[in-house]
């Protein structure tokens, strides 16, 4: 089993000019858990994900995987260490097949040197077989086996979303970060996604961070939730408790919930 690291965020500040998207945030993502990051638009959820993956600079504070400080690492180094993310907007090779789109996600596993690949040196067939099997396994697991050879631009949105998740998962990363994976999915699609992610997590034992708006999905999927508002942590704990705190209700739902309740 992979030993998934926990993520410690200490006094993290991410500033864009005078605007502080995240301000002196200190929070723990427990190892091997599925953690939901919730909060209204502009709360700093995606910024937090960008900071963990190296897609944004860090103005202050530190990010640790277990005890290793990674805030100065390049994106590639973090990916190699097993930190792999998805995007809020699906970013696929639209005119390529599902298989190609998933295979490319194996980049961080050991690949033969460029010249060895180019001229098909003897090391290639074995690594190719291994890669195809890995891709096939995740494709089957996500229910994409029937469309494995289809171009992704011919697929419905829900499937394309799954293709992106497959590309993230295929290399069995130890830290998986997903940015609103359920956006644009209908109720059935969300339940299916939650089931698949729960299963993957149970089998791979990774640490999973899921930025998500959908209350139902977070409660269904996540074992732990962090609520952000304006770059600050306002609540953390079991998802049901987090959603029950008054600060989260005000920040997240406005006052409309009081009226309903």
């Amino acid at each position: 089993m992979t030993t998934a690291p926990g993520i410690s965020i200490r006094d993290l500040t991410v500033a864009y000019g005078a605007f502080r998207a995240i301000e002196e945030l200190t929070v723990e993502v427990p190892a091997g858990r599925i953690v939901g990051v919730v909060g209204p638009n502009g709360a700093g959820k995606t910024t937090l994900l960008n900071a963990i993956t190296g897609f944004t600079h860090v103005s202050g504070g530190s990010i640790h995987l277990d005890e290793v400080a990674v805030q100065d690492w390049t994106v590639r180094r973090r990916v190699a260490a097993g930190v792999v993310r998805g995007f809020q907007t699906v970013r696929l090779m639209e005119r390529e097949s599902v298989m190609t789109n998933v295979l490319v996600g194996l980049e961080r596993t050991r690949q033969p040197f460029v010249l060895a690949q180019l001229f098909g040196l003897p090391s290639q067939p074995r690594s190719r077989r291994r890669d195809l099997d890995a891709a096939n396994a995740v494709i089957t697991r996500l229910g994409l086996a029937d469309v494995v050879h289809q171009r992704v631009d011919a697929l419905p949105f829900a499937s394309r979303r799954l293709v992106e998740v497959a590309r993230v998962l295929v290399s069995r990363p130890s830290v998986v970060l997903l940015d609103e994976p359920a956006a644009g999915l209908d109720q059935a699609g969300r339940h299916e996604l939650a089931a698949v992610l729960t299963q993957v997590h149970a089998e791979d034992g990774c640490t999973m961070v899921v930025v998500e708006h959908d209350v139902d999905l977070v409660q269904r999927l996540c074992q732990h939730a962090l609520a952000l508002d304006s770059g600050h942590l306002i609540s953390e704990g079991p998802p049901a408790d987090v959603f029950a705190t008054p600060e989260v209700q005000v920040a997240y739902f406005g006052r409309s919930l009081d009226a309903q309740a």
Binding site: F55, V75, R91, L92, M93, V104, R108, L118, D131, N136
Partner: protein, 342 residues
């Protein structure tokens, strides 16, 4: 698939976990499809060799030579998404390297090695400063390189023949003498088939997939850990080496090289040809090469040589609007539709 006449969708078989098909990069071809491809390929190779008159056989040889250059552009533009207007320049670098060494009596192998070396240097010189550019700005830089090359040729006329061009000794490799039409054809075809195999092989490698991801989303490429800069450099080098070899063969087959063969217009035509054929398609690269070499001859034979540029522009506009995957993509989807309805 069995030959049962029952509608397949009417009673879907229960999902059988044990029957998960073996992982494959592409759907398996039926034996009939493989046969069609092999027979078609052999016919495409044999028919010109056996039936074409000398002039057309020379043209076929040039198509093969140009196909190496368009295959290079397939890699650089079609797969990696880097817009280059220097492909004809790379061809020129190869052609003139071959010419200069050939006129000094150097053996073909020496010429080839020098062509590859020069292409790698020229490719690197163009690639490295352009790594942070893309799209039109990249195209502009590659265009400047082309202009620089033309300037160098004109100002080194004792060596290169300048703007007058130069007569190139026919390429002779072993028994294959490019002044004999059939041998010229083989001299173009064999390297072109090798180049084709190499580009087809890219589809089976992570290198090939890196290129596609760099083309479609650099953000996703970063998130996946793809070495973006390395991938772009490799693409540029492949494109320039392919083009250099293409130019070298073209010179040795055509017997004459001159600056207009390798100027900005030549580069634009190469790019247009690749887009019309289908930028990411290997077959499209061949269609593009045929388009570049054969169409001008057809219009010249009809007495309306100026129509080439006009038709090229119109065809490009049509393809860009109606067939984003080029003529090959258009044909493929038409065949696919017929299969589905049949």
């Amino acid at each position: 698939m069995t030959s049962t006449s029952l509608p397949v969708t009417a009673q879907a078989a229960p999902p059988d976990v044990a029957a998960v098909p073996a992982a494959a990069e592409k759907p398996a071809r039926s034996r009939r499809q493989t046969l069609v491809v092999v027979v078609g390929l052999l016919a495409a190779i044999a028919v010109p060799a056996l039936t074409f008159p000398a002039f057309w056989l020379f043209l076929a040889a040039q198509v093969a030579a140009y196909a190496i250059a368009t295959l290079g552009l397939n890699v650089l533009y079609g797969r990696t998404g880097q817009l280059s207007l220097a492909q004809a320049t790379f061809m020129g670098a190869g052609a003139y390297t071959g010419y200069v060494l050939g006129s000094q009596g150097q053996a073909p192998l020496v010429q080839l090695l020098a062509v590859v070396a020069v292409s790698l240097v020229v490719g690197a010189v163009v690639a490295v400063p352009t790594l942070r550019l893309s799209g039109l700005r990249l195209a502009l830089v590659t265009l400047a390189v082309g202009e620089l090359f033309a300037w160098v040729l004109v100002h080194t006329s004792p060596l290169t023949g300048g703007s007058q061009g130069a007569n190139v000794e026919p390429l002779v490799i072993g028994p294959l003498d490019a002044s004999v039409p059939l041998f010229a054809y083989l001299l173009g075809l064999l390297p072109a088939l090798l180049a084709t195999a190499l580009v087809l092989h890219l589809d089976r490698t992570q290198l090939g997939r890196r290129m596609l991801l760099v083309r479609d989303s650099e953000l996703a490429a970063r998130a996946t850990g793809v070495p973006i800069i390395q991938t772009k450099i490799v693409s540029f080098l492949l494109a320039s080496v392919f083009a250099g070899i293409a130019g070298w063969l073209y010179g040795g087959i055509n017997g004459f090289v001159s600056p207009p063969d390798f100027n900005l217009f030549a580069s634009v035509y190469l790019l247009v040809a690749v887009v019309i054929g289908g930028a990411r398609s290997v077959l499209g690269a061949w269609v593009g090469a045929a388009y570049i070499v054969v169409l001008p001859q057809v219009f010249t034979a009809l007495g309306i040589p100026n129509l080439y540029a006009l038709v090229g522009g119109a065809l490009l506009a049509l393809v860009a609007l109606l067939a984003p995957d080029g003529l090959v993509g258009l044909a493929r989807s038409a065949v696919g539709r017929r299969r589905r309805t049949a």
